[in-house]
Symmetry: C2
Subunit: 435 residues, 2 copies
């Protein structure tokens, strides 16, 4: 205002409008969920974006695939989780591009979401490791629809075999599980129980002992990352359950009619479950900067993107490393702790403070091998096996399952399965047979 001009009324100077910083979190798995929960009440506007409207409890996905739980039991609506939190908004959509210079992400329906901070927690996706036929002929097991599709397929091959036994010698009742990690081991244990108990009763005119569950693993051990004793226990337990475990058996190819191993052996089957290969979600390719061979994004010690302190990548998407520069395992706990860390880092930035180095606290690893049998390796060398490991596994999985109602229903289903040996969800939920 020039000194020569007079004002007749007092000038009301509004405080400069400073909109609250926008945080976009992509993914509502363990990482994204915990990042968002860590920002509840913070002076930011958070938008959680996911291509699904639910938080899936993936450690129990194999239970859906083997008819132990229904699909809804392990899914909890994301909006329900955040309904009470005023600063958190949810958006359904698939991120199709990330512009780290303009600072916005674009969604498949065309919407642009600008951000001041971006937390990427989109997890991993299936990799075929370059093996021909995996994407065309094998069943992946990374999502709820995939688990339902696999359940439908397994139940349907038994129905087909019951109607026409001549197809059994062609491997109709052979299920090949590719990959001896926790998912492969858990699937193998649950499948052998599903077949040996429920399906044996369901299909009493069918000789279900002719059904085969074959677990093929490229290395000389199951459960990479576990102790040798646990690996041995998993091997022995599965073999006692009738699972054929082939070690040192890398796959060469998957076809419509079966699999061929690298040494030339062939297994005739119509059912190959691919649990072997994961790589970072393809979203990683939309980001600038270095990627590792498995597609994971190389991040700084505080989980931010080099050159972009406002962008964080966590969980399976990030190639986080521990103090000794070893890559962290693809575990729920890594994602959970990464999410909490990213939320703290955003709060630090907002307060003008430096971010800290992400330190992963090992809470142990566990895998179930079937009814009343699991291995749980806790920090400090404590290992629980057999029934004790199984009870620890049950307890931990119930506690981390989001949603009290889900916990209760899962507990009812588990108790029911346990007492009756029944797997009551063996329902073929699809349209194949409809007119």
């Amino acid at each position: 205002m020039s000194p020569g001009r007079a004002t007749t009324r007092p000038v009301v100077v509004a405080p400069p409008h400073r909109p609250r910083p926008r945080v976009v979190i992509v993914g509502s798995g363990f990482g994204g969920l915990n990042a968002a929960l860590g920002l509840v009440g913070a002076p930011v506007e958070v938008t959680v974006v996911d291509r699904d409207n639910y938080h899936g409890f993936w450690p129990l996905l194999y239970q859906v695939a083997t008819a132990g739980l229904g699909p809804d039991d392990i899914a909890h609506p994301v909006r329900a989780i955040f309904a009470g939190h005023q600063n958190i908004t949810v958006r359904l959509g698939l991120v199709t591009s990330v512009d780290v210079d303009e600072r916005h992400v674009e969604l498949d329906h065309g919407e642009l979401l600008p951000y001041d901070y971006l937390i990427l927690a989109v997890g991993s996706s299936t990799s075929d490791f370059g093996i021909p036929g995996v994407f065309e002929h094998a069943f992946p097991l990374k999502s709820l629809p995939e688990a339902v599709r696999l359940r439908n397929h397994i139940l349907t091959v038994f129905e087909r075999a019951d109607a026409d036994r001549s197809a059994i010698p062609d491997g109709l009742l052979t299920i090949v599980l590719a990959g001896g990690g926790p998912t492969g081991v858990e699937m193998a244990g649950a499948l052998s129980e599903l077949i040996g108990t429920n399906l044996a009763l369901d299909f009493r005119h069918l000789d279900v002992t002719s059904a085969r569950v074959v677990l093929v693993e490229a290395t000389d051990h199951l459960l990479g990352g576990f102790s040798e004793r646990s690996q041995h226990e998993a091997l022995t337990t599965l073999r006692n359950k009738g699972v054929e475990v082939l070690l040192n058996a890398p796959l060469a190819k998957v076809t419509e009619h079966g699999v061929t191993l690298a040494d030339g052996r062939e297994i005739t089957t119509r059912t190959v479950v691919w649990t072997a290969g994961v790589r970072a979600n393809p979203l990683a390719d939309l980001l600038p900067g270095e990627k590792r061979r498995n597609g994971t994004v190389v991040v700084l010690p505080d989980l931010s993107l080099p050159g972009h302190p406002e962008v964080f990548a966590i969980g399976d998407l990030a190639g986080s490393v521990d103090k000794r520069e070893n890559a962290l395992p693809q575990l729920a706990q890594v994602a959970i702790q990464g999410g909490r860390h990213a939320a703290r880092a955003v709060r630090s930035r907002l307060a003008g403070k430096a971010t800290r180095t992400f330190r992963y606290h090992d809470h142990g690893i566990m895998a179930t091998i079937g009814r009343q049998s699991a291995v749980a390796e806790l920090p400090g060398g404590l290992t629980l096996r057999g029934s004790l490991g199984w009870m620890a596994w049950l307890a931990v999985h119930l506690v981390f399952l989001v949603g009290f109602r889900n916990r209760l229903v899962v507990l009812v289903n588990w108790a029911w399965n346990y007492v009756t040996w029944d797997r009551a969800s063996r329902v073929i939920l699809d349209d194949i047979h409809r007119v």
Copy 2:
């Protein structure tokens, strides 16, 4: 043996091999299930054929469509039901032809099932009543996949509206229910609650009061077959819940963009749920003999097909009539009692006795209109309304739900929904958003 020839060893004459009569039951709904259970232990070999591997509890299908229950909660594997019964076999398949002269049915996978007795219990299917666009643009609600698809769609339109409010004036949040029978009334009540409570919380940036639930009915009353007082109660209760009920409003057509009523009024919407029309399952067309206008098979008083005393048609497939020649309603109880009757008739035939006339015992009719509100009309003029009707409805539906585990899980879900107003199954279970 001629007298001139001698035998050196005694001739063992085997008793003539008389294979047990074969009973084929098509359909594992209320009718087929009860027909099969009525033949447990009878001197027959029973094969139950269904295109699905589960018995669906259809009275609760609207709960799946409105996210109150998961799909697995109302489905029970048919094989599990009959696992303990040695004379009952289950076959998954769709019947593609019935040869009443050669006495066999053919399944879609080519298998021929010969029979001595045939019980047809395939229920009803959707009819468009000749209204253009119903099959192309409306959501039917007759099967589990259809209920899941409708749930996905309803939840998805709210997600779409949240991302782009400009589509709301084009009817994005308008749901038109065509047909004021029990299913339409139950859907209307449950939808208004889903929207008014859960979705209002889930989508707090969206003005869900702009969402409309419109129930259109061709006649001047809801709940045809109920007493006037119950019809009035349903109308008042729904209108109090904010449902727009249009009576005397027959549909003229359904398009991609909405519906047109016979009087020319148009309602813009992307969601038309068709609960108005049912007709007999198309299997009826494969049978000889007279059909009614709604496709039902005309049967003799003992439910057998004229000229084919070995073939029975029951439930929604059959045009059964009561003593006054009125068509029996399409109710679970009619199918249940018809199934039991058919089993008794087969036993009578086996014993060389005459079959009896089927007499339907009216156990009443009920429909829920939402939380704590239902009408139940029991025989003898006893009518329960409001909370009392609702409790009667809950009890009856739990008792008739097959499978103890299903009952327990459904009870947990209901109790959870009731106490928390939560409908925890609002999960979009499909592949639309996947890469």
